[in-house]
């Protein structure tokens, strides 16, 4: 299936969960916050949430800023 992750196309097998995706990207759930189709998700509570064709996922983190 085709996902949009942080504005980029991302191909994956059907049934991919958020936890699996984060693992693939080498990201710990605790350090990011997620927005799935404009709905905010707590990353640690949604590790088993399955992604679907066309989903738009934003993976966001804190960076330095003034």
């Amino acid at each position: 299936m085709n996902l949009h992750v942080n504005g980029e196309n991302y191909q994956s097998d059907a049934g991919l969960t958020i936890g699996q995706l984060l693992k693939r990207l080498d990201l710990q759930a605790e350090r990011v916050v997620l927005e799935l189709n404009l709905n905010i998700l707590n990353s640690t509570d949604n590790l088993n949430t399955e992604l679907h064709e066309g989903d738009k996922l934003e993976i966001i983190q804190f960076v330095g800023g003034g």
Partner: protein
């Protein structure tokens, strides 16, 4: 130094520090440490999924510093509200430095969108610290909307040009019932001291600390500038005069009259 109270929370330091643009996490940490700050700002951005890197949060002691996420990058109220909600979902306390800067050249805050976002975020229970043009009328509106500070700019972000909005900030300080934090443009400890001498309650500095070869020394220099300025304000500055007033006696000169 007397303490600063924002939204009922007490702080011993009147210097807030931004964490952007440091050459390394070590440089950032040493500047924070030396500055004595208790509030540090951070931004929210997409993870680079091709190169996630490490998380800067692991370099900030959350017991010691209040993390103040900003809404930088927001071009309108809607984007700012979205970023604020994400910051809260990320586990931050509901404190938000509201920034709406649609203009990419001077990064000047949009007064209308800032006020709109402030009204929404206050209703959602955020402690809102709005970055704003040095406009006393807008400061009133933001305060009425329930923001916990007002944060007028001294000069555009990152310019190091000091307080170019002095007369307007003076009016904001005179009228405000919430702490006034001078944000943006402060490039030297003397600028920070000037803001504090004017009666500002705090200042926020980032570029001046990040954009130097010695962030720790600059952090300490700003700490001293802020403390000196606050102390002078509390002591009460003498009046300015148009004509000279001798400091030495005007009698007993060694000359014939």
């Amino acid at each position: 130094m007397d303490s600063l109270v924002i939204a009922g929370r007490k702080f011993n330091s009147r210097l807030m520090v931004g964490t952007g643009k440091f050459s390394s996490n070590n440089a950032m940490q040493s500047a924070m440490e030396a500055s004595g700050c208790e509030i540090v700002t951070v931004a929210l951005r997409r993870v680079d999924i091709n190169n996630p890197g490490d998380s800067m949060l692991q370099h900030i002691d959350r017991e010691r510093y209040l993390l103040l996420p900003n809404t930088s990058g927001a071009r309108d109220a809607e984007e700012a509200v979205r970023l604020a909600r994400l910051a809260r979902a990320a586990g931050c306390e509901p404190w938000i430095k509201l920034e709406v800067t649609p203009d990419p050249y001077y990064l000047l805050p949009d007064p209308i969108e800032t006020l709109k976002a402030a009204i929404i975020l206050v209703k959602e229970g955020f402690n809102v610290l709005p970055y704003m043009p040095a406009d006393p009328v807008l400061a009133r509106h933001l305060e009425e909307a329930g923001t916990v500070t007002v944060m007028p700019l001294g000069a555009p972000i990152g310019t190091n040009r000091g307080i170019r909005t002095r007369d307007l900030i003076n009016i904001i300080i005179e009228q405000a019932n919430v702490p006034v934090v001078v944000d943006a443009g402060l490039g030297a400890p003397s600028h920070a001291a000037e803001a504090m001498e004017m009666g500002a309650d705090a200042v926020l500095v980032n570029t001046a600390l990040a954009d130097t070869a010695n962030p720790a020394e600059m952090g300490e220099a700003f700490k001293k500038g802020v403390e000196a300025g606050r102390m002078a304000y509390l002591a009460g500055l003498g009046p300015q005069r148009g004509k000279a007033q001798a400091s030495s006696p005007l009698t007993g000169f060694l000359r014939e009259e």
